[in-house]
């Protein structure tokens, strides 16, 4: 007996697992394109995480924990207490048969294709989307030993060990079959908030702070958000971060710049969808935005180059490009806002 739930193995957002897992499922929803229009527009930068390897740049929007309207959530935490030993396998099989995806934490020591496999105990989250009782494997998706978001298999035997030694949360997710209608006023409003760098959490239908969520593995960590920048202000925050890295000679985190890049990918996709659905002629802005996306990719490669060579001239180049993108983005998005006024 086997069952594999459909999954997008290359979601448009995949920098952080709590977004990637959610988008891997949500992108199968028939209204995912419409959903893109008025969601995941705002970005935040948390200064408090600079010195503690936490999440610096993130989208304001739904995750695996809650708030993504294309998904339905169920707290599986109560179940994990009696789902130990082999019982967890029948539990997983039942949930997959009910078309529910399972997000949980595993001990990577027992997870093949992970850098800690048979090396050391290390907690990391994965999502389960299928099983095969003949081959005795569970289908999971997550970040492999190269840091790539890929699907893989884990044997029943290793899964039980990986789960038993490290199950910090259990979340069940399924596709919400309700239709999603986008709101073009909300789209415009969020763009205004982005350009102004406004905290717009209160405008989201629901917002769950991943660092404070009850089910979160972040519980008790990174909960102090005393200084946060939003939207266009994150460019200055990123420059501050680059200066921090060079003056303190700390390791450069690639992820904030990857999220910045993903934000541009998503914005370009959003503009293309709006162009078609709203029949406004924004081709010129779309062209301009393609250039912004290209620059954000160059920045990523310069960050990698800095990681290898540690030469400050690359930081100067990156700061210059961040400033250019900021200016271009203000112009492009202001034009879009004007079109939709």
């Amino acid at each position: 007996m086997k069952k594999i739930l459909p999954i997008n193995k290359n979601p448009i957002i995949k920098c952080y697992q709590y977004n990637a897992f959610a988008i891997s499922i949500a992108s199968l929803h028939e209204n995912f394109r419409e959903w893109i229009i008025d969601n995941y527009i705002q970005l935040s930068f948390d200064y408090c995480n600079i010195n503690r390897n936490g999440i610096l740049v993130d989208f304001l929007g739904g995750t695996i924990f809650d708030s993504l309207s294309l998904l339905k959530y169920e707290d599986g935490n109560k179940d994990r207490y009696y789902s130990s030993g082999d019982k967890i396998l029948s539990y997983i099989i039942n949930k997959i048969n009910e078309e529910k995806y399972i997000c949980t934490m595993l001990n990577e020591y027992y997870v093949p294709e992970r850098k800690n496999y048979k090396n050391e105990y290390f907690e990391h989250d994965i999502m389960i989307y299928g099983y095969n009782t003949e081959e005795k494997v569970i289908n999971i998706i997550g970040y492999n030993n190269d840091g790539k978001y890929v699907a893989s298999n884990i044997s029943f035997c290793e899964f039980v060990k990986a789960f038993e030694t490290n199950n910090l949360f259990l979340k069940l997710i399924e596709i919400n079959k309700n239709k999603y209608d986008y709101n073009i006023f909300k789209f415009k409003d969020f763009l205004v908030d982005y350009i102004k760098g406004t905290d717009c959490k209160n405008k989201l239908d629901k917002y769950v702070d991943v660092s404070k969520g009850e089910l979160s593995f972040f519980v008790g960590k990174y909960t102090n958000h005393t200084k946060v920048s939003f939207g266009i202000k994150i460019y200055d925050a990123l420059k501050y971060y680059l200066m921090f890295v060079t003056s303190n000679d700390t390791e450069m985190d690639y992820r904030p710049f990857y999220t910045l890049y993903e934000h541009k990918v998503l914005m370009l996709e959003r503009l293309n969808i709006v162009n078609v659905l709203e029949k406004k002629n924004i081709d010129k802005v779309i062209l301009e935005y393609q250039n912004i996306l290209e620059k954000s990719r160059i920045i990523l490669n310069l960050i990698i180059k800095y990681q290898f060579k540690h030469e400050k001239e690359y930081i100067d180049q990156i700061c210059k490009m961040l400033q250019e993108i900021k200016k271009q983005e203000i112009c492009s998005l202001t034009e879009i806002i004007t079109v939709f006024n």
Binding site: E294, R297, I298, N301, L302, I304, K305, K309, Q317, M321
Partner: protein
């Protein structure tokens, strides 16, 4: 000579002994962002030049052919 040096760098970084055709897409031979940047760094060291940031996009240097064009132009301008 330039072409031979480029091929040697590419083969070393992609850890392959296969003869890669000049117009083959290097991503098919395992070039990802990290290896792409490693190739750029090795090329800059070998040819004592600085590759402008506009070429820091994989699609602009994802074959031996394309790399040779960029490097040859930079060497001409030296």
């Amino acid at each position: 000579m330039v072409l031979l040096k480029i091929k040697k760098i590419v083969n070393e970084i992609l850890s392959t002994n296969i003869s890669i055709k000049d117009d083959s897409d290097l991503q098919e031979f395992g070039m990802d962002s990290i290896k792409f940047v490693q190739i750029i760094i090795a090329l800059e060291d070998e040819f004592k030049c600085e590759i402008p940031e506009e070429f820091f996009l994989m699609e602009k240097m994802n074959s031996v052919d394309k790399i040779e064009r960029v490097i040859s132009k930079l060497l001409e301008e030296k």
